[in-house]
């Protein structure tokens, strides 16, 4: 459990913004800026933050759908950050992804069987008969019927499509799955079905998850540890119960207080920290702490110096000048 499967060290992903006649790079959009964390074997690490904070880019960079600008991605002891596509092929079997939008992430012109089998074909893992069996097995595993293999995605509901997406990710027997907002497009009752299934799969197959979402209560439920991102930076990382009961960063505190509580009395009692304004642009962000202009506790030092991401004990990391 405590052996790190994945170590992210100072990961950066900058997108150049080109301007003018000669396409000169005028600015950089710093989507992920110096993020470090580890994920242990068999663990679920949650990653939360508002849209635009870089959590999805972070996930996509780890799996190298985006080329990292700088930093290390150490998977099982090997730094894959600079690997070519050819070298990556082997690792793509080990790392898979479940995407956010079950309506857009399945090719409408492929049958469900072909969608799930595509990765098996790419990696030339099995013969036709074995492939067929594997697809049947996977469909049953995610709670669909064997005959669904010959149908097309439009014949399925959102929850069923997300199951197809999960079956596709499982096809090559991965060790590590990045779940990028896998439930945010689903109804509440269906969300619980999918989350339970992800948990079952994890315990049965020994999977490791990076769970990206903006729904804090669901992330807390599924994750062992949770990281909070703000404007390309990891601002806090802790055990999920610890993060919920003792949030240190003012941004985490505000995020937690914004969760709507399905309980009218609790909801009436609760004091909300309503954050003013919105997440600023990540294009050439100002120096210092990136949260300072929305922070209730901002001090002069926050505009001058960038806070260090430091351990407050027990693996509770925070990047804030208050501590």
């Amino acid at each position: 459990m405590n052996k790190p499967l994945l170590e992210i060290k100072n990961l950066k992903k900058y997108f150049p913004i080109k301007k003018g006649l000669f396409n000169k790079t005028a600015h950089y959009l710093k989507a992920v800026d110096n993020v470090s964390f580890t994920i242990n074997k068999g663990e679920t690490l949650g990653l939360v933050g508002e849209s635009g904070c870089g959590k999805t880019t972070c996930g996509r960079t780890i799996i190298k759908l985006y080329e990292p600008t700088d930093g290390q991605i150490i998977y099982d002891g090997v730094d894959i950050a600079k690997f070519s596509d050819k070298q990556m092929l082997e690792y793509r079997k080990k790392m898979q992804m479940i995407f956010q939008d079950p309506y857009a992430s399945l090719d409408p012109r492929m049958t469900v069987g072909d969608i799930i089998g595509e990765a098996i074909d790419v990696h030339k893992l099995m013969g036709p008969k074995e492939r067929e069996e594997r697809i049947q097995y996977l469909l049953n595993r995610v709670g669909l019927n064997s005959e669904h293999a010959s149908r097309y995605p439009h014949e399925f509901s959102g929850g069923q499509r997300q199951r197809i997406g999960i079956a596709r990710a499982l096809a090559v027997q991965p060790e590590f799955i990045i779940c990028d907002e896998p439930i945010s497009a689903l109804d509440v009752s269906i969300q619980a079905q999918v989350v339970n299934m992800l948990e079952d799969l994890q315990s049965d197959l020994g999977l490791t998850y990076l769970f990206i979402a903006h729904d804090l209560s669901m992330v807390k439920h599924i994750s062992n540890r949770v990281g909070v991102m703000y404007l390309g930076k990891l601002v806090e990382l802790a055990d999920s119960n610890e993060l919920y009961t003792k949030p240190l960063h003012p941004y985490t505190q505000a995020l937690l207080s914004a969760i709507p509580i399905p309980d009218p009395d609790e909801s009436a009692k609760k004091k909300r920290i309503v954050l003013e304004g919105e997440i600023p642009s990540p294009i050439d962000p100002p120096p210092g702490c990136r949260f300072k202009n929305r922070c209730r506790y901002a001090k002069p030092i926050c505009s001058e110096q960038e806070p260090v991401f430091k351990d407050m004990g027990g693996g509770h990391f925070v990047a804030c000048h208050l501590y």
Binding site: S157, G158, S189, S257, A258, P260, P262, P264, V274, E278
Partner: protein
């Protein structure tokens, strides 16, 4: 309290090439002046179609088959289209789910805000401009004057939803219908928008109908809740009734399928198994029966009436019949 809206036995269907899809199958509820109520249910429960029927914004193949929609005594279901146009945006405002697609991308935000004012309130351009600026200010958009000449793509998601709210409220409607107004937004922005709606409800005394699938959102804003399932009302009552004394297994399921962040011991979620019913061939009995773990024989064959539980609290479930076996509501809320 004065009644603002009363829906009586509304039935709305869509006539498709494969047959009649009975989206709303006999829904009745009411709304008083100055009140905020919630309609909760999953996709396909008919919650949006009920409100689209009120606005008479159904697709071409959709039709109100039966029922009355009494808005201050007038039956909107039978109002001719030109009369209806005077109601829409003027007396009833609506906020849609997706702020990214519900604004016109080729018109400036100012033009879109001024349009209903000029059309309905017969304001001059200058008056409408000032009023629009005031509305943007009211919904908390910084430097509203310069924002007037910008296009929707220059606004973020949360800001667009504010513009939508400003537009819906510009003519001071008596009723605001908000269809999943915060579903596409981040939690922090969601909190801002809900706070804003609460605030505006007090300031301009608009009645609100909030459609959502998120029980957390209604808990805060609404005084009464209608839970819908399969085109019918499953349970109706005050917010406290629904949260603390729910009497319908579907409501139990909804309450149980969200994790309680206060729980420090990891507990398995209890989802509602199965899929919502196919409204092309709606079941004869209770629409929830195939997914209900308490289903009895009668549930499959006969649709349950709305049993009276308490004052204004009703549940359409046979378990509330006097001869039914007593079932303890499996709500985890008690062990907090």
């Amino acid at each position: 309290m004065e009644r603002l809206l009363e829906i009586k036995n509304l039935r709305t269907s869509f006539f498709t090439h494969v047959g009649e899809v009975q989206a709303v199958r006999g829904v009745s509820f009411h709304l008083d002046k100055g009140e905020a109520i919630g309609i909760v249910g999953e996709s396909g429960s008919g919650k949006s179609i009920t409100m689209m029927s009120v606005m008479r914004l159904l697709a071409d193949n959709g039709k109100i088959v039966e029922g009355e929609i009494l808005f201050e005594g007038r039956d909107l279901a039978k109002l001719p289209e030109n009369e209806m146009q005077k109601v829409r945006g003027n007396e009833i405002g609506m906020i849609f789910q997706d702020p990214m697609t519900s604004l016109n991308p080729v018109l400036t935000v100012g033009d879109q805000l001024m349009e209903p004012l000029i059309k309905h309130k017969k304001m001059s351009k200058e008056e409408a401009f000032n009023r629009a600026v005031h509305m943007l200010e009211l919904v908390g958009i910084p430097s509203p004057k310069s924002r007037m000449s910008q296009y929707p793509h220059e606004f973020s998601g949360g800001m667009r939803q504010r513009v939508m709210i400003a537009m819906a409220l510009a003519c001071e409607p008596k009723l605001l219908i908000a269809d999943e107004p915060t579903t596409a937004l981040d939690v922090t922005i969601q909190a801002q928008i809900l706070e804003l709606m609460k605030d505006l409800k007090q300031k301009i005394n608009t009645s609100i109908i909030l459609i959502t699938h998120d029980l957390g959102v209604v808990a805060d804003l609404c005084s009464r809740i209608n839970v819908m399932y399969g085109g019918l009302i499953a349970e109706t009552g005050t917010t406290r009734d629904i949260f603390y004394n729910p009497k319908h297994p579907y409501t139990w399921g909804l309450l149980n399928s969200v994790p309680n962040p206060k729980n420090l011991v990891k507990e398995r979620l209890k989802p509602i198994d199965g899929q919502p019913p196919d409204l092309l061939k709606p079941p004869a009995g209770c629409p929830f029966a195939p997914r209900c773990q308490y289903a009895m024989r009668i549930c499959m064959t006969q649709r349950p009436p709305l049993f009276e539980i308490g004052e204004g609290h009703k549940a359409a479930c046979w378990l509330n019949h006097k001869d039914a076996p007593k079932v303890e509501a499996p709500i985890r809320r008690g062990d907090l």
